[in-house]
């Protein structure tokens, strides 16, 4: 069975705010759900499948079904960190193809910016690996820095090359009035920003924002019945990558496992992609992922990102045209939802005109949940225009 064409994304909504101290987590889930359903032209009563991840409060999907008053025939609370929402789109397409539901709602919300104490974390003390990582003062930037340092050692990648990724994101973010950081930065400014965990500077790191987002994934018959232009789900891949019994390879991500099945299912290759949303928790996340998805050869990422390769609309691989997690939004410390949302905007022709890819037919969205320095859940989606 393939999910190619089995489902369409009919609604997408990104919360416009980046600081939301005056809402509860459940409220933000509800606001983004309402936004995505309105975008699709559907109502809460139409929803029969619900998807959420570890950011959902309380009893997760069950608490949220209760809060939202949903009557469901399918629930899925798969948790793969920040990539969860790409996994959910793939699973929603599978469930729709199997007849388990027809209108699937996916939501994300979090408030790590204004309520960091309430933020849920995957660094759980009862994890079997906890004794062998947490006790050494592992931090999120520190773990990614281990990957960056090793990539530099093996391939000669430089801090200036990583900085080019942040520069490209900032060029896009200047057009996004909701972006947390809207100022264009230079390579020098990235390199002169304070070192957080060598070799990663402050501007190599994504933003920390409150916020959320939601998607509505529907059966093809429903997509056809709606007035709104929808986006076709063409392919999906998901895979964990872990420490491999103490033989961790820090120079690649789980995209080496999740990318190929997604491309195969969609029947396309990297050179066919018009726009890519690439998970950007840190600049190194983007660089390794570009290699892993086959946009360039292994070890060539540092050279690939030069000369405005990532800048829309004319770069070789325009990426993260909303400003990405590096500048726009990384709600709940989870960047996967906003990756899908910007890909939907591009395929509908609704990105900001300054960064809209002309006749964007084929887009990729990729999520990385967890850490390049230890273990991660990776997910790749290939999406197309409605008639793809």
């Amino acid at each position: 069975m393939t999910i190619r064409g089995a489902a369409f994304i009919a609604g997408a909504y990104e919360h416009p705010r980046r600081e939301i101290p005056d809402r509860s987590l459940a409220q933000i889930h509800a606001e983004v759900a309402a936004g995505a359903l309105a975008d699709a032209g559907l109502e809460f009563r139409d929803v029969d499948g619900y998807f959420c991840a570890g950011d959902a409060p309380g009893f997760g999907a069950i608490s949220m079904a209760d809060y939202l008053g949903l009557r469901l025939s399918h629930v899925d609370s798969t948790e793969t960190g920040g990539s969860s929402y790409l996994v959910h789109v793939g699973h929603a397409a599978q469930a729709i193809a199997a007849g388990k539901c027809r209108v699937a709602l996916v939501t994300l919300a979090g408030k790590p910016r204004t309520s960091p104490g309430e933020q849920r974390t995957s660094a759980l003390p009862d994890a079997p690996e906890g004794n062998f990582e947490l006790r050494y003062g592992i931090t999120t930037p520190g773990a990614y820095a281990l990957a960056a340092r090793r990539h530099m050692y093996e391939f000669g990648t430089t801090g200036a090359q990583l900085a080019e990724i942040k520069v490209a994101a900032s060029i896009h973010a200047q057009h996004n009035p909701n972006a947390l950081l809207q100022q264009v930065v230079s390579v020098e400014e990235v390199l002169e920003s304070p070192m957080v965990a060598d070799p990663l500077h402050r501007l190599d790191c994504c933003v920390i924002t409150d916020g959320g987002g939601a998607l509505v994934v529907v059966h093809p018959d429903i997509a056809r019945s709606l007035g709104r232009r929808s986006v076709k789900v063409l392919g999906h891949g998901e895979a964990p990558k872990h420490t491999d019994n103490g033989r961790i390879d820090l120079t690649h991500t789980g995209a080496v496992f999740s990318g190929p099945p997604a491309f195969a299912e969609a029947g396309v290759k990297p050179a066919d992609i018009d726009y890519a949303s690439i998970y950007d928790s840190f600049t190194i996340t983007v660089l390794e992922t570009i290699e892993d998805l086959g946009f360039c050869a292994r070890g060539e990422g540092g050279r690939f990102v030069l000369d405005g390769a990532l800048v829309a609309p004319d770069g070789r691989l325009p990426f993260n045209t909303d400003g990405g997690g590096l500048c726009n939004n990384h709600p709940s410390n989870r960047g996967g939802m906003t990756k899908v949302i910007e890909a939907v905007r591009q395929l509908r022709g609704e990105a900001h005109p300054a960064v809209q890819i002309r006749d964007c037919k084929l887009a990729l969205a990729h999520g990385t949940g967890g850490s390049l320095g230890t273990r991660m859940g990776s997910a790749t989606l290939i999406l197309g225009q409605e008639d793809a």
Partner: protein, 136 residues
Amino acid sequence: MSLPIPPGRVSPDNREHFEGLQTGRLLLPRCDRCATVIWYPRHFCPACGSLEVSWFEATGRGTLHSFSIVRRGQGPYAEAGPYVLAYVELEEGPRLMTNLLLEPAGFDHLAIGQAVEMVIERADGVPPLLRFRRAT
């Protein structure tokens, strides 16, 4: 400056490992079926699926595989000042996360590939902690 020795959990999965550290020895599990050296310590071989392992004494020597100088620690490390988070590749094969202690050398002497040796640090009421320093 010395680094904190945060709490840990000794469990039936890793008891032999921590008991070894208490007596100054680095004990690692090796699979009884396929002979793979296992890390992190557990009673399971992720290479072949065997539930039977035996513990052997490793040399405690290795090389620096990757490192970062973390400038802003959290929790027990919040007041630690800059410290080195690292992966060390043991002579026996596994790469493990650890800290590299800087005495007597400083940050400027860090280099991937350099030889390192284990330092077992102890504190009352918590499991010992396996750290490393440049090999002498």
